[in-house]
């Protein structure tokens, strides 16, 4: 470095000479240097902007695909719901309205009976009293005939009237009694009709409610089919909720499977040996894991065969007879595996007691003390029974993993799509930002390049002014 300052006897002069030389060289190379900086900055800027555009396009495509996937999943789910609602309506119609002819006949019979009874219960007016005719006869008696005996006649009439009235009252009461009896007989029929109509009313109301629900689902289905943003928004938020809920339930299931594993891993060593290794893992552990995996698989197949989940369309599409056969086969295998697990859980307890006894013996205790060291006596059966019970129940409990698993798999697609979409959005923004940064860095570097050249540039400007104000060619390029 020193040799640079030794080109003249005076270092300061040497340095000054070097500065002058450098400034001159930079001034002469200024246009080319500006072009190089500009070209470099432009290249980098364009590269990054193109990359940002590509990422943005990829994100858009992914967004579109996610939207399609979400809509397809939503459409499928909604179809299932609507199908189920129609099934319910069908069931209601089949069970309740299939009895309609019978109901109708019962109603008609009741009504006919009521009509007949009503007809018979019509209030018959009592016969007009006979004395009217007698009065007419009295009135027609001529004066010539004399009206001496009229008093006697009227007295007779009165008697006969009282007698007739008494008879008609008896008759009237008798008839009224009959009518009341008929009306009493009508009462159960009325009640029956009321109950029947109430039942029919309930069914009709239930159908109306269902129809309102179906209308709502149909409206949502139409929104999904037409791909409305509102529907997509609802579906994506619902998908997120489903994802987290199913993930939580799966975690619980994993906990159950772990407990199950610890129940059967130790006694498995009795069957496959305790020292064999497969790929660095104990064979007994792998065997226990395989049993649990087989149980979960059987549970999946069982749920598929029952058409509760739809992870394997092949199983769902099987003929009903074959499907039901599959239900029984998978259930039988599960039952056998549960029995095996219960047996292994029992074996685990036996081994544990054996190990405790051996350890006690090796610690120097005598046989009686070794026996006492184990969990003996009346409480021993509690842990054994609990372990056996867990060994038997857990395989069946794991069957239900299929439901959250299906939800998890379906919602995972959407959640992953959203995550990747977010990442691509961040990447695109970063790339665009980098492109712009490089563009402005190009301008900045040009200014920085010109900074040490302020003296020649000032001189150049003065000279140009003197020559008529011609501007330098590099200006206004950027």
């Amino acid at each position: 470095m020193n040799f640079l300052l030794n080109i003249t006897p005076w270092p300061a002069v040497s340095a000054l000479l070097w500065i002058v030389f450098a400034v001159t060289a930079m001034y002469l190379a200024r246009v080319t240097a500006h072009q190089a900086i500009r070209a470099g900055a432009r290249t980098l800027s364009r590269t990054f902007r193109i990359a940002a555009k590509m990422v943005s396009k990829g994100r858009h495509d992914l967004d579109q695909r996610n939207r399609e996937v979400l809509l397809a999943a939503g459409r499928e789910a909604k179809e299932r719901i609507i199908e189920r609602e129609f099934d319910r309506v069908n069931e209601t119609v089949r069970t309740d309205l299939a009895n309609y002819p019978k109901l109708h006949r019962a109603l008609s019979e009741s009504i006919t009976r009521i009509e007949e009874d009503h007809q018979q219960a019509v209030d018959v007016p009592p016969d007009p009293p006979g004395w009217v005719k007698a009065v007419e006869a009295v009135a027609k008696i001529d004066s010539s005939e004399g009206r001496v005996g009229i008093g006697n006649v009227l007295s007779d009439i009165h008697k006969s009237l009282v007698k007739a009235h008494a008879q008609s009252m008896v008759s009237y009461r008798h008839e009224s009694g009959k009518r009341h009896a008929l009306l009493r007989r009508m009462r159960p029929d009325w009640r029956k009709i009321q109950v029947t109509l109430g039942h029919v009313g309930k069914n009709v109301d239930s159908l109306l409610d269902r129809s309102v629900t179906i209308d709502r689902h149909m409206q949502e289905y139409e929104d999904i089919v037409s791909g409305k943003d509102h529907a997509v928004s609802i579906l994506s938020s619902s998908s997120l909720v489903q994802f987290f809920v199913s993930a939580f339930v799966l975690l619980v299931a994993i906990g159950g499977a772990t407990i199950n594993f610890s129940l059967i891993a130790r006694p498995m060593a009795e069957m496959v040996g305790g020292t064999g290794l497969i790929g660095g893992f104990r064979t007994a552990d792998i065997a226990a894991l395989v049993i649990i995996m087989v149980e979960i698989s059987m549970g999946l197949f069982l749920m598929e065969s029952l058409r509760i989940t739809r992870l394997f369309p092949v199983i769902g599409a099987l003929p009903d007879k074959m499907r039901i056969r599959m239900v029984w086969i998978t259930f039988t295998i599960l039952f056998l595996l549960a029995c095996v697990e219960a047996g292994l859980a029992f074996m685990r307890e036996v081994l544990l007691q054996d190990e405790l006894a051996t350890s006690a013996l090796l610690r120097g205790a005598d046989a009686a003390a070794a026996e006492a060291a184990t969990l003996s006596g009346e409480y021993y059966w509690i842990t054994t029974a609990a372990q056996m019970g867990m060994g038997f129940i857990l395989p069946f409990a794991l069957v239900f993993v299929a439901i959250p698993l299906e939800t998890f798999v379906h919602s995972l697609r959407t959640v992953l799509g959203m995550l990747v979409n977010g990442l691509l959005r961040v990447l695109s923004t970063t790339l665009r930002l980098a492109g712009n940064t490089f563009r402005y860095f190009g301008s900045l570097f040009i200014k920085i390049y010109d900074l040490p050249l302020f003296v020649p540039l000032w001189l150049q400007e003065r000279a140009e002014r003197r020559n008529g104000g011609k501007k330098p060619s590099y200006q206004g390029v950027l």
Partner: protein
């Protein structure tokens, strides 16, 4: 498809390995000479502790040191533990009972052939070829060979751990401790020259570091 089948079969065969690669072989020598036979109760405790620490496929043998110890007849009990837990526990219990019976009925010998015992131990463990080999010597390390017994044989102890347990001080050691120190040092140099690792544990309450 054939290639895929072959590759998969090879992968499965490679993956399926026995875990004998980390098993342990222990050969324990019990000094039954003179007054040292009174210490054998302590040896029984060590044997029980050793049994509790051994796992499936491990090998354990207990042999006595007497006038001529280079003999299979001196092996009191030997076992290679089964890899089924129930069978292994049974083997351990039987082994402990056999040792207990031996300790109860042992008769002291006139001479002490430690080298012969070590040679027998080397032969036994090499035959079993465990991953780790340990020879435990429960003795005062005072060798006393009968006339005519040749024991100036080079030992092959490469890969062996030799642990001397309960090396008691003799009456003469109390008079001249140098004897004791030299005796221990001689054994150490003999073992280390033969390629083995040497350790002495006299505090039998601290057996945690035995294996």
């Amino acid at each position: 498809m054939k290639i895929l089948t072959i590759v998969l079969s090879c992968a499965i065969l490679v993956a399926c390995t026995r875990s004998t690669a980390d098993n342990h072989g222990v050969y324990m020598l019990l000094d039954t000479s003179g007054t040292y036979s009174e210490e054998l109760k302590k040896a029984e405790q060590i044997i029980r502790y050793t049994l509790s620490r051994l796992d499936a496929t491990d090998t354990f043998a207990v042999a006595r040191i007497d006038t001529g110890s280079f003999s299979e007849k001196d092996i009191v009990a030997k076992v290679t533990l089964d890899d089924r837990p129930s069978a292994m526990n049974k083997q351990k219990r039987l082994f402990a009972q056999r040792v207990q019976k031996f300790v109860a009925s042992v008769r002291s010998s006139r001479y002490t052939d430690i080298t012969g015992g070590i040679l027998q131990g080397i032969e036994f463990l090499n035959e079993k070829s465990p991953a780790r080999k340990t020879i435990l010597i429960f003795s005062d390390l005072k060798e006393d060979l009968a006339e005519g017994y040749v024991r100036d044989i080079a030992l092959e102890l490469d890969g062996f751990n030799v642990i001397a347990l309960n090396v008691t001080k003799l009456r003469s050691d109390n008079i001249n401790p140098r004897e004791y120190l030299e005796r221990v040092s001689d054994w150490q140099s003999l073992v280390e020259k033969a390629g083995g690792k040497w350790r002495v544990i006299n505090d039998l309450d601290g057996l945690e570091g035995l294996f």
